[in-house]
Every structure is written in C-alpha cells, then in structure tokens.
C-alpha cells in the first residue's frame, strides 16, 4: 500500500496542489482525498476558523453529548390519495386520470388476480411446478407501472445491475428511467446497500421501489429490521425518499410519476416504500397459517384491498357496475384459461438446448458434452420423459 500512497503523492505534486492539501496527504490512510471534490464540499480549506474542516461531513460542532434517537414510534408518514372506501381525501392530489386509464388500471389488477387464482390452482393440480401469487399487492405493481414510459427499464430484482443500467441510460441521454422492484426482505441484502450507495454517488436516474408487504416468507418485519422501514434508509444515502399507501393505486401512481419526472430531469435516485400486505402465501411451497392468524389476513382481504378501493372509486364515478364486473370476470377467466391451455399443449424445447447460450458461442468442450448426451439418449432414451419434449 506504500506504493499506492507514494504514487498518489507524486501524482498530486504533478497536479500542483497547495502545500496544505499535501499536509493531509502525508497522513497514512489518505484514501478518499484523491478524488475530485463532491458537489456539497463546504468553504475553502483554512486552518484559521474554528469551524469543522473534515472532508467527510458538512456539519457544525456541538458540545453536548447526545445520541440521535432512531424514530420508530412515529415514522415517516404514509402518503395516500384515497381512503379505504375509495374516496379522494385531498382533491388537489387527485391525478384526474381519464376513464380509459382508470379502467385499464382496474382491469390489469383484476386480470392479474384472476391469473393468480387459476395458476395457483393449476399448481395444486400438478399442471405447473411452482407459483407465487400477488394477492393484496396488485396496487403496487399496476400503479407504478402505469406511471412509466414504454421505453423505461424494469428490473424485477438485481438492485445493483439496475443502477448500472440507469448510469448507462444517463450517459446515452436516453430519457429513460430504470425502476427496480424488491421486497422489504430483499432490502436487507448487501446488494440493496450497494445499489443505494452507488445510485446516489454516481447520480443515476433510478427509482427504487420497495414493496413492504409485512413478511419475507415467514419472517415478519419486526425480525427483518429495527429502524423505520426502508424509506428511512434513503436519506442516509442521500436519496429522496417517500412512503406511500401501496394499496392506494393513485398514491402509488402519483409518487412514481413524480419520481420518474425528477429522476430523469435531475439524474438522481428516488426511493419509494409502498406499504402493503401479502394476503396470499409466499408461494405454492408455503402455508402461512403456520406463522400468522387467519384474522389478520381476512382484515386486509376485506377491509383494505387495492382492487376494492379502486372499484369503489369507479362505482362512485359511475364508470363501472355489477353487470360489467360479472362480464369482465368471465372474460378474464376465459382469457387466462385459453392462454394456459395453449401453452400447456406446446412440447418443451429439445434437450439439445440445455447446452445453448452458456456463452455467445458454444465452446468445443461443451459441444462434446452435448454430443455425449445425444448418444446417451440414443441408448437409454426410454428412461427419460422424451415424449414431452420437442424432437
């Protein structure tokens, strides 16, 4: 490491830095001084004032010993537009979306719900191997997606990669935002920390959208974090943050829309924590009655459901009724069943494709392995489910 410091010293001298700056560089561990000044750097370096000179923080001195109390009793407030009955609370926050758009929101959420029911059932019947439902969280997906442009990039996870994509989009002047979805459990992963920090320091046009649904499989939020949820972490990284009612599709829409506009215009990240509830099990491999009460689940299903709340809004606008509801339910079921049956009829791809796309080009050794499997199947093919695969 002496090599690195020496190299830094030589480089700095060549750049003609002042003596005072060099004084700092001579201390061991001078890492962090070699980069260009961050935008928030305060006044010129001077040893005459009694003000703090530390490069690491822009703050005043205090002479009283006080620890900052993390505020978890009354945390960051939850932005909402509609009450639980679908009535607009503050008219100035009403996005005044046209009828077609609101119907599209409603139909997207309900179609998703229908698809979830059918596919969950089909797993129970052994027709698919695994499924995860969205029950209760439809507002978070649809409300946020509705606020994006068609060319925006969506990452369903992969938090740091999303930041990289945003950086590239910024460099390309692409006018795109990147949105990255994750749960409150995934927010504990190191890569969430890395993603937040990189997005902020590298000034990336990205929306971090956290769906806080109360559980990571069986782990409740009280065992996932001790701070004020995920939104409170944003300011720690220098990220604009907001907490919204994830079951209020207009609140989700408004927050995402504004975050998108500013992220692209100002090249900075935004963090949206959408509070919601996971009504269904984590997946078809989970039975959540093992760790939570049926009463709790029923409360959310009956009293605070994103689909119900939007339906109340539609009804009060006179844009929907029972007849249309019945007809749409039938239509969406049919749509899903047709697509499912069509997919089910297709044979699976040829086993040769097991070896494709490992690299852009197939390496010689891998081709040998591919040929070896082909020969093996010629002799032992009867022991393999070849009937379900393309010839």
């Amino acid at each position: 490491m002496a090599v690195a410091i020496a190299a830094a010293r030589v480089w700095r001298l060549n750049r003609g830095l002042s003596q005072a700056a060099l004084l700092l560089l001579r201390q061991p561990g001078a890492r962090g001084l070699a980069r260009s000044h961050p935008p928030r750097q305060q006044q010129q370096f001077s040893s005459l004032d009694d003000k703090p000179q530390f490069p690491g923080a822009s703050a005043e001195f205090i002479d009283k010993l006080e620890f900052i109390q993390p505020n978890v009793i009354s945390g960051i407030p939850i932005y909402r537009v509609m009450d639980r009955q679908g009535q607009i609370i503050n008219p100035s926050e009403d996005p005044h979306l046209p009828k077609e758009k609101v119907l599209k929101l409603y139909k997207s959420m309900t179609l998703l719900n229908t698809m979830d029911r059918i596919l969950y059932e089909s797993q129970r019947q052994g027709r698919i191997s695994f499924y995860m439902t969205n029950y209760g969280e439809e507002g978070t997906h649809v409300g946020s997606a509705a606020a994006l442009d068609n060319t925006d990039l969506v990452f369903g996870q992969y938090r740091e990669a999303a930041v990289g994509a945003a950086y590239a989009a910024k460099r390309a002047n692409a006018n795109r935002v990147v949105i990255c979805y994750f749960g409150e459990g995934a927010a504990s992963e190191g890569d969430a920390h890395a993603g937040f920090n990189f997005a902020a320091t590298l000034e990336c046009p990205i929306i971090f959208f956290c769906r806080n649904n109360g559980y990571a499989i069986s782990t409740p939020t009280s065992e996932q974090y001790r701070g004020d949820g995920i939104a409170a972490r944003g300011p720690g990284y220098g990220i604009m943050s907001i907490r919204v009612d994830g079951n209020d599709v207009f609140a989700v829409y408004n927050a995402t829309k504004e975050a998108r506009r500013r992220a692209v215009a100002e090249n900075q990240p935004f963090l949206i924590e959408a509070m919601t509830y996971r009504i269904g099990h984590h997946s078809t491999s989970d039975d959540s009655s093992a760790y939570r009460s049926v009463d709790e689940v029923n409360y959310w299903d009956k009293q605070d459901h994103p689909i119900s709340r939007l339906r109340h809004y539609l009804l009060s606008q006179g844009w929907w009724d029972e007849e249309q509801e019945k007809a749409w339910r039938k239509q969406s079921r049919r749509k899903v069943m047709e697509a499912f049956e069509q997919a089910e009829r297709k044979p699976k791809p040829n086993p040769n494709l097991l070896f494709s796309d490992v690299y852009q080009e197939m390496p010689a050794q891998l081709r040998k392995q591919q040929e070896s499997l082909a020969r093996h199947l010629q002799t032992y093919g009867e022991h393999y489910p070849l009937d379900h695969f393309d010839k």
Binding site: M1, V3, A4, A7, A8, W11, R31, A34, R35, S36, L153, Y158, R159, E160, A161, A162, V163, G164, A165, A166, Y167, A168, A169, R171, A172, G190, D191, H193, A194, G195, N197, F198, T201, L202, S356, D357, V358, Y359, Q360, E361, P363, A364, Q365, L366
Partner: protein, 322 residues
C-alpha cells in the same frame, strides 16, 4: 511498455474506439493503485473513468447493469483477493445472464480486471490466485497474461468478447521488464494456449508469472539433464485449450503443470484429469503438479510456499526418471 502501461494502452484504445466504454472501480480516477488508469480520466472525462464506493459486489453488479444495456463496462477489483464479495454477482448473475434469459439479455460487454498473484510481500490478502474458483463457473471466461505484449492483446480480446470476462493481471510483473508493445490496438485470441518453446521430452504448462518460472526450468533441464521441454502458456483458464495441451502430451508423454494457487482443487487438477482421460496410453509417467501448499498464502514464509524453479526442476527430474 511495462505491463501496467500496456494495460493503460489497451484501455486507452478501448475508450477511443467505443464511445460507450467506461472504466470504474476503487481509486481508478487518479490513476489507480497500480497506475493502470493514469491519464484516462483527463482524456475521456469523469463520466467515463470514475471511482465507485468501496464495495466489490456493487462494482460488479453495477458493471453487469451497464453491460446489459449494451454499453462496455470495464470494472476493476483492486486486488483479486477482494473479488469474493462479488462472487455471487459473477457466478449467479453475470455468468448466467444469457443462459437464463434464453439469449434475450446478456452482459457480454462486461470485463473485470484485477491484480493477481504473489508479489514478494503480499501475504494473505494481496497475493491470491483465485482462478480455480471461477474455472468451475460456466458462462464466464478467465484470462491471465504473462507479459506486457500478451496483456494488451488479451485484454482487448476480453473487452471485445461477447461474454463476461475476468482478466487477472500478475501484479509482480506490472513494473518488471518492459518490451515492445504496439500503440495501436491488436488482439490475441482467447481460449488458445501458446507453445512458447517446442520440445520433445516433457510438456510444461503454466500461466501468468509462473510461465517465466517454467521457462527457466526448461533451460535448467536442458543444461543439467539434456532434457528437451515443450513450454506452454495456457493464457485462458476457461474455456481452456484442451487440444493444444493434449497434442503436446501425445508427443512428449510427460506433463508438469505449475501454479501458485493451492494444490487441492487448483486448476492443475482439471488439466491433469482431462489429459489422463484423453492421453492415457501416451503417458510415460504420472502427471506432475507443482503448486502452492494447501494453506492460506503466507507472509514471511512466502519463499518456502511458492512453486519455485527448484521444486519444478525436482518434479521434472523425478518424472524423467520414472
């Protein structure tokens, strides 16, 4: 140019030719702790050559994201010893991106460069050669040069290759002997081993710094034992050039592989296993592996740990007399 300068030259060529190319990592902005990126930020701008926070998983994950959009991402991990926090990103994300999306997406324009190997005083965390961990990962390429000329050509090939690549740079060679290196770009193909000296009695295989050790061993063998050695630089660890090695062993009947990394599970075991499958009847002696011991890379004991020319010579002598 010496090796770090040949790396700078390759990076310079890349950023000049490819407007999407960016270089990032810890301390790359001022020129890097090994001077590999000196001058590039001034020449190409701070949006193209920039520091990241101290977080290897972030560096690689971020690089994957850039590459997914089609831009060229050249990430630096400050020492190969620090690559492990990024292991999940490399193995589970980068290596599988194309495969898992059925070629809808890929991060082929990602290259990770990292200083590698013993340096005399590096101890546990500035000396490691972790290529074996990555050899076990289909979907990436791992490349290690032995010289400045090789480094530039191989690095340019990695950057242009349409698969994520890891390029390990032998740090002990950064400032060692310089050689003629063209200023203009040129490529050296990946997955091709190079026979740097032909011979008839025994095949010696190594990569990176160790190539110079076995070349010296070849001279010693000629002088002291009258033995003619064929010296091969593997260059690409995966996907590796099985044909060149096997062709050589079929000719000589004897194989010695040497690397600094520990013996057990080191890449010599893969080469040894494949060669005995393909060339069993040609072998005159068991395949010999001269490697580091199965210990962490030691500090004061480094001179006893490394697979030096005496250990290689002794193993060669035993093989000849088998």
């Amino acid at each position: 140019m010496n090796l770090f300068q040949s790396v700078t030259s390759a990076l310079d060529n890349s950023l000049a030719k490819d407007p999407t190319a960016v270089i990032f990592g810890e301390d790359v902005a001022f020129g890097g702790v090994f001077r590999c990126t000196v001058g590039l930020r001034d020449k190409y701008g701070k949006d193209r050559v920039f520091n990241t926070p101290l977080c290897e998983q972030g560096i690689v994950g971020f690089g994957i994201g850039i590459a997914v959009t089609g831009a060229t991402a050249i990430a630096e991990i400050q020492f190969a010893d620090y690559i492990f926090p990024a292991f999940d990103q490399i193995v589970n994300e980068a290596a599988k991106y194309r495969y898992r999306s059925g070629d809808l997406f890929n991060c082929g324009s990602l290259t990770i460069r990292s200083p590698w190997g013993c340096v005399g005083h590096g101890a546990l965390y500035h000396s490691q050669s972790p290529e074996a961990f990555f050899a076990h990962c289909p979907g990436i390429k791992v490349v290690i040069p032995r010289s400045p000329f090789q480094a530039k050509g191989l690095l340019l090939s990695c950057i242009e290759d349409k698969n994520p690549c890891i390029f390990f740079e032998p740090k002990i060679l950064y400032r060692a002997a310089a050689e003629e290196v063209p200023i203009e770009p040129y490529n050296i193909p990946l997955s091709q081993a190079e026979v740097i000296q032909e011979g008839s009695d025994v095949t010696l295989v190594a990569w990176g710094t160790q190539v110079h050790v076995i070349r010296e061993v070849a001279s010693m063998a000629k002088e002291k034992l009258g033995v003619s050695c064929e010296v091969i630089d593997l260059r690409t660890i995966i996907p590796w050039d099985v044909d060149t090695i096997c062709k050589s062993v079929i000719k000589t009947g004897r194989l010695l592989i040497s690397h600094e990394a520990p013996l057990t599970g080191g890449f010599a075991s893969e080469i040894s296993s494949t060669v005995q499958e393909e060339c069993f009847l040609n072998l005159e002696a068991p395949i010999s592996r001269v490697c580091g011991y199965d210990t962490p890379f030691p500090h004061i004991f480094e001179p006893f740990y490394i697979p030096d020319k005496w250990k290689c010579y002794d193993a060669l002598r035993k093989m000849i007399n088998y």
